[in-house]
Structure formats: C-alpha cells, structure tokens
Symmetry: C2
Subunit: 335 residues, 2 copies
Amino acid sequence: MRIPFAELEGGIFEALVRLGLAPERAKLSARLTAETDRDGVRTHGIARLPRFADMIANGSIFPANEPEVVGSFGAMERWTGHRGPGNVAAYAAMGRAMELAKEFGLGAVALADSTHWQRGGSYGWQAADAGFAAMCWTNTMPNLPPWGATSPALGNNPLILAIPNGREPIVLDIAMSQFSYGTLTKYRERGQQLPVPGGYDAEGKLTTDPGAIEETYRALPIGYWKGSGLSFALDVLGAMLSGGLATHQISVDPARESGVSQIFMAVDPLSLGTIEEMRAMVAGAIGSVHAATPVDAGDPPRYPGEGTLRVREENLRLGVLVDESQWGKVFELGR
Amino acid sequence: MRIPFAELEGGIFEALVRLGLAPERAKLSARLTAETDRDGVRTHGIARLPRFADMIANGSIFPANEPEVVGSFGAMERWTGHRGPGNVAAYAAMGRAMELAKEFGLGAVALADSTHWQRGGSYGWQAADAGFAAMCWTNTMPNLPPWGATSPALGNNPLILAIPNGREPIVLDIAMSQFSYGTLTKYRERGQQLPVPGGYDAEGKLTTDPGAIEETYRALPIGYWKGSGLSFALDVLGAMLSGGLATHQISVDPARESGVSQIFMAVDPLSLGTIEEMRAMVAGAIGSVHAATPVDAGDPPRYPGEGTLRVREENLRLGVLVDESQWGKVFELGR
C-alpha cells in the first residue's frame, strides 16, 4: 500500500512518543525513519520499529538518554551515546562533525556506546544536502566470518561515503557483507537464487542458494579477504577513536545489539576549492559512468545514490510504498 | 634469488640517481621501494622500476619536481605534485597529515597532479609506525568496468587503512578490483584457476579463468556493485578535495598514467584516549579473529598486516627474495 509521506511521518512520531521519546527527538527520529521508507530502503525504515520497541523493553535502548561530549581536541570530539536512540545520536554527531569541518576544513565525532543507527545513508544525505562531504561507519555485533574462518567474528559494519553535488549528491551506503540475512530470507521466500554468490553451503562451496547460506551462517564479505580486512579495520578504528566497544565485545543476540561504536567525519570542500570546478568534475565523472557500455542495452550503469532519487520522487508523488502489516504494527507500538 | 636488504636498497638508490632524482629524494624512494619487496609485495617494488624509467623518458614523470602547497584551511591542505616521483610526494603528504593531526587531532593533505605512488601500504606503515591512524587512497586510470557495464570507466583506486599498535600495526591495502591484471597474468602463466571468481568471460558469465578475463577486460570490482560504488566515490572525493583529475580525465595508456589525485588523512588517537585502553581493545579484537573456527584446521584467520610481518622477518633474516631478471634490470636503468 502507498501512504502520503506526512501521514507516515505522523504515525511513526506518535509511536515514538508512546515509546518514551521526548517530542522534539521523536520528531527527528520519525522523519529519519519515514525518509528511509521514502527512499525505498524498506529493510531499515518502519520494518525495524518493532525491534526498536523490544530493545527499549529489554533495557538495550534507553529512549530518554541523550549523547554527551566526553572529550575534545582540535577538530575531533569523543562522545558517548548512553545507549539512547541511535538515529537521534547519529544525526547530532554528524551535525557536530559538520560544524567542526566549517571551522577546521574537516572534523570528526567518535561516538561510543550508541545503538543501531537504522539507515546509515541518512547521515550521508544529511551532510551532502548541507554541502559537506562525509564518511561515517558503525560497527555491529559479530555476524560475519573473517576470511579463512567459518564462524562469525566480524561485524557487517556499514560504511557511508557522501559527496555534495547540489540536489543530486553521491551517497554510497554499503555493509561489508555481500547480502544481509534479511535479503537472504527475502530471496528464499520468493524461491529465487541470489544474483551473485553470497556465501558458502554446507560443503564449503560458494553458492547462490540463499537457504544454504542461512543454514551455514557463512555469509560472504565483499571481495572475500578484502572486505574481511576492511570490516576488521573499520571496527578497530571506530572502537579506538571512540573509546567504545569493538565487535567482539558486543552481544551476539540481535535483540540486545547495543553499545556500538560509530565514526562521523565531515569535510567542507569549499574550504579549499570552488563550487564551479567541483560541479564540472562531478558532471564529467557521472557522464563517464553513464557512457560505459551497458551489459543490458538501454540500462546504463548508475552512480551511488542515483537510484534513490528516482524512488524518492515516485514515493513522494504516489505515496510511500509500505508493507500493510508493518504499517499496522506501528499503531500497536507502545500500547 | 635472495639479496641483503642494504644491497637491494643501494642498487635501487644508484639507479634512481642515474634517472635524475636528487640524492636525498633517491634515498627515500629507494628505501620505500626496497621495503616493498622486503614486505613481499613484489608486484610493486623493483618490478615497477622499468615502467618508472619509461615514464620519465616519455615525459609522464618529472624526476626533479617536488610537491608544493597550494592551499591551506585549518586541518586540511591542498598540494600539487607537479608529476614528480609519486612515492616521494606521497611520503611527504602523509608526513604533513600527521603534523596536522598532532595539532588538530586529525589532518588531511589532498594531493593533485601526482604520479603512481607504487605500494599504497607504504604510507599506512609510515603513519602507524609513528603512532597515527591513517586512511589514504589514490585514483588511477580507467581500468575497471562499473557494475552493469562491460567497458572500463572506474579506476581500481587502492585504499589503505592503518591503525597503530606498537610493533604490530594493522595495515590494510586493497585495490577495488578483485585481482590486478598482473595477478591474472601470473595465474594464467602458471596454468592455475583463480581461487574465487575474478571477472567475466566472453559469454558474460563469472569465471575463475584468468585468461578469459584478460580477453574481455571485464575484471570484477570487490563486492560487485558495492566495490563499483566505492571506487567511484573515492575517485570523485579525491578529485574534489585535491582539485585534481578524476579517473575519466586520466590517460588510458598505462605508460602515461600520470596526474592522479590522492588523499592522505591521519588521526592522532592519543589526542582523545590512552594507549592502555587501545592496546587492550586491539588485542581483544585480534584474539577474536584468531579464535574463529578456521576453514583449514591449523590455519587460523589473519588480520590485515599480520602476514606482512612474517614475510618481512624472513626476508630480513635470509635476504630479500627477488626475481633475478628484475634485479638485473635495476642495473641497466638510466644507462
């Protein structure tokens, strides 16, 4: 079903207030969640709200807790999230990184002891829409085997890169696993094979069978040993700068995945260059990707964020596409 | 054959002086090159020197040119390399990023118009050995098809992350293609299949046959659409901050791949935390990876940089392993 954006945002807002968020914070969190569905990232919008409510109930998220600055040096700050709502804390941290970038050219906030930030891309769009380049990442519970192992010891640690470009910024939002378990389930339920290998089967062979990977829990890091190393390095760097938990210290129970470490870095490109030179260069780079010979005629390759704009426009025009039962659950939360 | 490190370094130094580098700069460049072979990255050590000499001869590299600061704002500087030797410029840029990090907690140098930096990992080790965390990357000529395309429009854009940890830092050095063309050739010449799919064959199917990929030029980005997006974002961000060329503006002739854009970012972790808390966290993270169930019993998974230390120790103890004909060529350079 499709519902108007304002109605979606309003329904989420009321649910979050019932769950204990102060109105101002519920308003921000509702907007970020509604924008996630608006942008077509339906795994990370209202679909995650029941888990959010469960984690408040089991003491993994404290809805009234706000992030606090615990250290500051030049262009860098260390914050602690006190396990408050993760998207509200992340939005504040990226906002502060942008202020630091305005002052120092670049700036960073390292946030410890936070909770699931929902869609990481939100903070990339936040920065790029305000004219900043940004990089941010979070660690997660152990849910991915390191290269050469069969048991999870790495997180899928989403990484976001954002580059301002007027109304059409470049926003990359990638987890370090080739597919999430949510995606594997979706393929299996539809009886479909994955488009590329996504993990290992019980015989230790690469497979495109989603069910086989769900059974072994041997999901694949992007680029095999390369994504495995990148996931590890992001985890350790995030925990080091924030002074927070590394992946191996986070609960392996998804319903208690709390206390994560996150990095928010912003750069003000206009501190060194002009908007004209940048616009021209970005237009050239996008043009070059669009001009590459497509695998399927008539379907040119896209740059990161390009597809989002199309989905967003459609969802704003026709109403945001949501799952009826997920939307129904929003009204039950906190009652 | 194996030769003592000092002899390797000395032979390279003399060749670089013959090629027109001033002694002080030849000394640094020779050390970086010798260390690359010492660390077992044989594709990027003396093996690249004949190409370096050719590029001086054809006017793509100017051996006497030094990098210059062209802009500065807070913790960020913009440099131009004037197409001097890439490793000398990169080393200076990372050094300056570390000075900025000492002052501001983090710092960055964006370097335009440079040349091939040889082994990117060199600048990660440089930072981590000095106690800094670092991230750096370079763009390259178009050598990788974007996801959804069959013709190259992206670079393989190596990305380096480094994390200090005493004598055993974490250093990740990954290109955005699953395998380099050099590696594909090596496998083909040995008559071996790739360990994982590395690109597409003439029928558009994923293949582990190195020769088939050399024919189609359809190498695979790490993580398919994910590495494709990451490569694009790194390219555009590097060109934007440095004011230099993006991949689509760089010559597609490998012998004239010059004018690349590079980013060097350093963070001083001790500006916010203590060395004791960091050491304990890193030890725990490494321990957790080592404790994961190995695919092959007795062969535990490794963290990025761990293998390098083993190779380095062996090469320092027994002499650095080099290819006899490549070593012979060093003595012919510049004559």
